[in-house]
């Protein structure tokens, strides 16, 4: 393929309901290729401070699992690209894994990213996803051993999310030849590789071109949304929505190769 796809990450109800809908609107109109919608969890131990704080604010703003699916549904109706719901095992398990998959499908989601339900502790996620026609996206890291990588790829997942470094989301990532070799190895089995963790610039996107199907940009969008909302202030909701919409549009443009 000629260009690298962009998957933009966002959190419903962050910083509040209206502004998160404005962010989704901006991302849809900017024609990002994929949308990753993170359902906040009270104890997001794989996320760094940016996404952790945003999840806390979203929960305080009234996020619930039902409202998350409503958000996905509304976004899909509005013409969103394929939506992947990312969340933690605890949230999926509380709804029941099968029911969660059913609800995700009904909302129009294309797939699920649940890092702490790996294939050997998946609570039936992969089977339920298959039954529903939902792509279950395994998440791997550079530390993943080749034995486990072989197991991960055995189920022939359509997509694989590859973290570009060990650690948590949000910190800076220096890309090197090691990353590219790792991504090529993952992609050689035929899965579409989505790579993320610390992607925030066009240079990084350019460097990964040809080695990945898509780049995932998470904390950078969260920061952009947060900054725009804070600058507009709480007293001007319409202006804030406009600012959030433009902020994500600007960031998408800045990430796209010239």
């Amino acid at each position: 393929m000629s260009t690298t796809a962009i998957m933009a990450h966002m959190i419903p109800y962050f910083p509040d309901r209206e502004l998160s809908y404005a962010a989704a609107h901006g991302l849809i109109d900017s024609k990002v290729d994929y949308l990753e919608v993170q359902f906040p969890f009270s104890d997001p131990s794989a996320d760094g401070p940016t996404i952790e704080d945003a999840c806390g604010r979203a929960l305080a703003a009234g996020f619930s699992t039902a409202r998350g699916f409503e958000f996905v549904h509304t976004s899909v109706d509005r013409g969103a690209p394929p939506v992947f719901i990312m969340t933690y095992a605890g949230i999926v398990y509380a709804s029941g894994v099968k029911d969660f998959c059913d609800l995700a499908k009904q909302s129009g989601a294309a797939g699920l990213i649940i890092p702490d339900l790996p294939y050997d502790y998946d609570e039936g996620l992969y089977e339920a996803g298959l039954a529903q026609g939902l792509a279950i996206v395994p998440v791997i890291a550079p530390s993943t051993t080749s034995d486990r990588l072989t197991e991960v790829l055995k189920s022939r997942p359509e997509y694989v999310y590859a973290a570009l470094r060990v650690g948590i989301t949000g910190a800076a990532t220096e890309l090197g030849q090691d990353n590219l070799d790792f991504l090529d190895r993952v992609g050689s089995a035929g899965a579409k590789v989505m790579a993320g963790f610390g992607i925030r610039s066009r240079d990084q996107v350019t460097m990964l071109a040809g080695h990945v199907h898509a780049v995932v940009v998470g904390s950078a969008f969260v920061r952009a949304i947060s900054a725009a909302a804070d600058a507009a202030g709480p007293d001007e909701p319409a202006a804030a929505a406009e600012a959030v919409y433009s902020a994500v549009e600007t960031l998408v443009a800045a990430l796209r190769p010239n």
């Binding site: 794989a46 619930s64 095992a89 890092p115 790996p118």
Partner: protein
């Protein structure tokens, strides 16, 4: 010690336990499991552990017949396992030593830990000082504020105490922060979990290192010619209780009674009791167990006067043993724990840690229901020195306030 192949590794306990972690944390956990099993089968490792138990921890800790209290109640004989007399003031040191030795064997040079009350942090900092390991302890800001003396001790041992300002700023948030650290530091760092929870192999490992308390108590009871009717221990995450109960998990007697924090009231945010129908099955922090959750699976707020019990989840093996009825669970409120602390101090010359005083309170209740021929053994998992800023404020607020004002002036 005779050579034997360790076969106690379980990984899951009924429907609970497991290793629900992102792939990034799989290599260190898989590596740890292998190293743990190898160490447990290695007589040299076990001899090293035993030597530190004797020369550093001060094992065996005494078993005290609480004669005055038993007489006053007129019911069952209460025995107290004085585990709080272990070096650094609580049972936490047993597991800290076991894991720190293991980390050293694995070639790790840095230790991270979470702490609630601070007892696990203090224990970890102490053994790291002794073994020459770098030590970083994550502690919630709320807990730092209520357990300042332990922060001081950790720093004295040379550890760095990192305040955690996320979430509820208590134990569970310190666990999250330690997991975040470990996800990028595991090459040279061991995460020394203090409770019998978290992803496998931690629940098996912590139980094994704490089982020294149970085996020792069993031998002491036998030497005294006493057959226990019930064993009682407080349960936060569950490290002292599972270790204390461990020789009896496969037998029908004695009764095993875990005591959770009843807090102020059995309402959301008023307590930290997960058993007896209050908790829901969930997956949090890498393991499946019973947690205080809302309908969406979000973790709920907890409260206990004791920082060490102020945690929304229970160790997976305890959840399982509770669900099959091998372990009974009771609750003690903040007030009952404080009352028990006063009774044992006056009658026996022993000051319980606030956590352990929950077990003490349940033992007092139970003793009154049983005949004098019966025997109850309660584990005083920690001693109460660290709690003086809480107990003094609750028990003698005026004189304590005057003392603190004087102290400030002297400074």
């Amino acid at each position: 010690m005779q050579q034997h192949q360790y076969s106690g590794f379980k990984n899951t306990f009924g429907e609970f336990g497991g290793r629900y972690v992102a792939e990034v944390l799989r290599p260190p956990l898989d590596e740890l499991e292998a190293a743990f099993i190898a160490a447990m089968s290695d007589p040299q490792y076990r001899a090293e552990f035993d030597a530190i138990c004797t020369n550093f921890i001060g094992r065996p800790t005494p078993l005290l017949h609480a004669r005055n209290t038993s007489r006053e109640i007129g019911g069952a004989q209460i025995y107290i396992k004085l585990e709080g007399l272990a070096n650094t003031g609580a049972h936490k040191i047993n597991n800290a030593v076991g894991q720190a030795l293991l980390a050293k064997r694995m070639g790790k040079t840095r230790i991270i830990a979470e702490t609630g009350a601070g007892q696990h942090g203090v224990a970890t900092a102490a053994i790291c000082a002794k073994l020459g390991l770098e030590c970083c302890v994550y502690m919630g800001e709320v807990d730092i504020a209520r357990q300042k003396p332990n922060v001081f001790c950790m720093e004295l041992y040379g550890a760095e105490v990192r305040p955690v300002s996320s979430g509820s700023r208590t134990l569970k948030d310190a666990v999250n922060e330690a997991l975040r650290d470990w996800a990028s530091s595991f090459e040279n760092t061991h995460y020394l979990i203090g409770s019998a929870l978290g992803p496998s192999p931690f629940p098996d490992m912590v139980r094994e290192f704490q089982s020294v308390v149970g085996h020792e108590t069993k031998a002491q009871l036998k030497a005294a010619g006493v057959v226990p009717d019930a064993l009682v221990a407080c349960v936060g995450g569950g490290s002292n209780s599972i270790g204390f109960f461990s020789p009896y998990l496969e037998t029908e007697a004695p009764r095993l009674i875990g005591v959770e924090a009843g807090g102020r009231s059995i309402t959301i945010g008023g307590h930290a009791a997960r058993m007896n129908g209050l908790g829901k099955t969930g997956i949090v922090q890498g393991y499946k167990s019973l947690f205080l959750l809302d309908d969406d699976g979000q973790v709920q707020a907890t409260h206990s006067v004791s920082a060490g019990l102020d945690y929304p989840g229970i160790g997976p093996q305890l959840a399982h043993l509770g669900s099959i009825g091998r372990i009974e669970f009771m609750r003690a409120s903040d007030t009952e724990a404080l009352d028990a602390l006063k009774i044992f101090a006056r009658n026996e010359g022993v000051i319980f840690a606030l956590e352990s005083a929950h077990g003490g309170a349940a033992a007092l209740k139970l003793a009154a229901e049983l005949p004098p021929s019966a025997t109850i053994v309660v584990n005083m998992s920690g001693r109460g020195d660290k709690d003086i800023f809480i107990t003094a404020r609750e028990i003698a607020p005026e004189s304590w306030k005057r003392f603190l004002e004087q102290e400030v002036q002297t400074l």
